[in-house]
């Protein structure tokens, strides 16, 4: 026999399980509906975010990394995550619930390739990061200004062209000059990059794909806690 509070706890746990399942399956309408129901039943917004949406996306990210899911499945899960967040966000303000961290992303000057960078943005958002996507062909000054204004935890830079890769090093150098490098995690990615090149350009880590970027961002931020 269970007490009333146990039963209520179990019901909420079931609701969170349903939320994670719907998110995993990319059912955006259902996710929004379950988030609403959880709120109406008194569940804390921060708990819905961390134990429902973020935990669900963690599972998606893990299964993508392990080759069980395909990118389109990740994208629809991320879409479902956004649908849930739209319902949740008005309740998060003032609730004390925080994102995993703030991320600024962009493709460096002279480069207009953005498929990889966009995937990183989607997966970062899905994992619970707040993402500011600067877009393509962004100058050193654009990156520095964004870091100065938004004070992100992470800066991610992408390049597809061998000729634009060195621009990443210029950004890092400019951040150092401006006193903005310390405490900032700098990630680099792009098809022609290598770990050695990223290191030489001043990165904290090279990320070979979007899933690795999320894992790396989490690990590096944990290490700085």
């Amino acid at each position: 026999m269970t007490s009333g509070s146990d039963a209520s706890h179990m019901a909420l746990q079931e609701l969170l399980g349903q939320l994670r399942e719907d998110l995993y399956r990319g059912r955006d309408g259902k996710v929004a509906e379950v988030v609403s129901r959880a709120l109406s039943q008194g569940m804390a917004p921060g708990g819905i975010l961390s134990d429902g949406l973020i935990a669900g996306m963690d599972e998606v990210g893990r299964d993508f990394r392990d080759g069980k899911l395909y990118m389109p499945e990740v994208l629809v899960a991320a879409r479902a995550m956004k649908a849930g967040l739209r319902v949740l966000e008005p309740h998060l303000a003032g609730s004390g619930a925080a994102t995993l961290g703030r991320v600024v992303l962009g493709t460096v000057a002279g480069d207009i390739h953005d498929i990889g960078k966009n995937l990183v943005a989607i997966m970062m958002e899905g994992a619970g990061f707040e993402v500011l996507d600067l877009g393509i062909d962004r100058s050193t000054e654009d990156f520095v200004a964004a870091v100065r204004e938004t004070r992100p935890h992470i800066l991610g830079m992408s390049a597809l062209l061998t000729t634009t890769m060195p621009a990443m090093g210029k950004v890092v150098e400019a951040l150092r000059t401006e006193g903005l490098r310390e405490g900032l995690v700098v990630l680099m990615g792009g098809a022609p990059l290598t770990p050695a090149f990223a290191q030489a350009m001043g990165a904290d880590a090279y990320c070979r794909d979007a899933a690795v970027a999320v894992d790396t961002a989490k690990a590096l931020l944990r290490g700085r806690e």
Binding site: Y70, M71, P72, G110, I112, L161, P192, D209
Partner: protein
């Protein structure tokens, strides 16, 4: 009766090509292309057949093309292009010839043929790989094999071009990575060969950004090349499922529309400008996020070639390289599929053979192996004559059952050309193979490749060209 027996392969029926063309025109007139190049914007703005939206001042506009303009461009472009060797000798006519092969392209690494180790591509590698392509008989062009990473970025492209010119007399396909080096690279070639436009031995290769973006460096370089009177390859690279629709049909039509947009720009820059069009239709693994060649890539390559043949535009396609981890079975299968289909289809240039490990590393072993594959594929597609004189009926009649044909007149007249003899694979009996220590084919390929590299000697004018080119580069920088 046609006296020649020839294998044939065709893909698109006339109605299907008309469908692809109509849908391509629809994309160009409704969706259009985004243009980042001011030189291209100026050309398009001056045309009545283009509707421009957006503010050129912010560096990006959307251009939508009227059907009549596209049809005009198709008619205006030449159907054949004579390509020359560096010493002015005609090499082949694109658009009126079989598929022609080349080694390439823009690899960041070099896969050592002794050890399979992957090391950064250097200027020395550019010289030796160019020379390797020069020495292999079935390669007709040399594409920019790699990006020399031991040279400063500002001059790496120039030294690459110089080593290409100095180490072969075959035509060159030029890929310049640094947009600031594009015009200087052409200047360098014109410096060492002032009659470049009269007998072009170098063809710049340019990519738009799929889907439907003519980026600044590509647009500028396209106009620059055309105005210099050089032929140009305008080729797009797709990742089906990511940058184009996931289906073969959607990819084919979208890529075709992009190519037609590039054609229009070239013809507006100079009506009658020689342009070579084609695609590298890769797929995108949505699980591992790697691009790769699917069997449909090879089919799309042929379909694109057929569309270009319909338009009367010379074609440059994909080369089937990049799969595999060196000269292995995976790479071999792709090369075979590509080379046979290219020769059977209407493919023009197959310019980028030899890339490995996702086209990041040039593998000399693979280039040497491919040379042998091309030789066998050529043998296959040449077919055979079916005439009385080749039947040897007289010998059959005279010698009767149980006879030998080894000393018949026909055998004596043709035995040296009667079948393909590979320089790589000796015909060994089981006993011979055992007695030689059971050699593996890949070890023979390695020995042969290393010998080819060891035997390389500078071309007679190579050193002088390097001196002249280095002085030119010094003056620029």
């Amino acid at each position: 009766m046609d006296p020649m027996v020839r294998p044939a392969f065709s893909l698109l029926q006339a109605e299907q090509m008309a469908f692809v063309h109509a849908r391509s025109l629809e994309i160009l007139s409704s969706t259009g292309v985004r243009v980042h190049s001011r030189r291209v914007m100026e050309l398009l703005s001056a045309s009545d057949g283009v509707r421009m939206d957006g503010d050129p001042a912010n560096g990006r506009v959307r251009a939508r093309f009227q059907e009549e303009l596209v049809e005009w461009a198709i008619q205006a472009a030449p159907g054949e292009i004579e390509v020359f060797g560096r010493r002015g000798e005609p090499a082949f006519r694109l658009g009126a010839d079989r598929a022609r092969f080349g080694v390439g392209v823009t690899n960041l690494y070099y896969q050592d043929p002794s050890t399979d180790e992957v090391v950064p591509f250097t200027r020395r590698h550019m010289a030796t790989t160019t020379r390797l392509g020069h020495d292999l008989p079935h390669f007709d062009v040399i594409s920019t094999v790699g990006i020399p990473r031991d040279c400063p970025p500002a001059t790496a492209d120039l030294f690459a071009v110089l080593e290409m010119a100095a180490n072969t007399t075959k035509p060159l396909v030029l890929l310049v990575s640094n947009e600031a080096s594009f015009a200087p690279a052409l200047d360098l070639l014109e410096h060492i060969h002032p009659n470049l436009a009269e007998a072009p031995f170098a063809i710049p290769y340019l990519n738009p950004v799929t889907p439907l973006v003519i980026n600044e460096s590509t647009g500028d370089a396209l106009v620059e090349t055309v105005l210099r009177g050089l032929p140009v390859i305008y080729s797009n690279f797709s990742m089906a499922g990511a940058s184009t629709p996931i289906t073969a049909a959607g990819t084919l039509v979208l890529l075709n529309a992009e190519l037609l947009a590039g054609l229009v720009v070239s013809q507006l820059a100079r009506p009658g400008a020689p342009v070579i069009l084609g695609s590298l239709p890769s797929f995108f693994d949505l699980r591992t996020l790697q691009d790769f060649y699917d069997p449909h890539s090879m089919m799309l390559n042929v379909a694109c070639a057929e569309m270009m043949a319909r338009y009367g535009i010379p074609h440059a396609g994909t080369s089937g390289s990049g799969m595999g981890w060196g000269a292995d079975l995976a790479a071999s299968g792709q090369l075979w599929m590509n080379h046979i289909l290219s020769l059977l289809g209407k493919v023009g240039l197959v310019p980028f053979v030899g890339g490995s490990l996702g086209s990041k590393a040039f593998c000399p072993l693979l280039a040497v192996y491919s040379d042998d594959v091309i030789g066998q594929a050529l043998r296959l597609v040449e077919g055979f004559p079916l005439r009385d004189r080749e039947l040897d009926m007289d010998t059959i009649r005279e010698r009767g059952p149980g006879a030998s044909f080894m000393d018949s007149d026909l055998t004596l007249a043709s035995f040296r050309q009667a079948y393909y003899e590979s320089g790589l694979t000796p015909h060994l009996s089981l006993e011979e193979w055992e007695s030689r220590g059971r050699p593996r084919f890949d070890s023979l390929l390695r020995e042969h490749t290393l010998q080819l590299l060891a035997d390389q000697a500078p071309l007679d004018d190579g050193e002088e060209l390097v001196r002249k080119g280095e002085a030119f580069i010094d003056r620029l920088h």
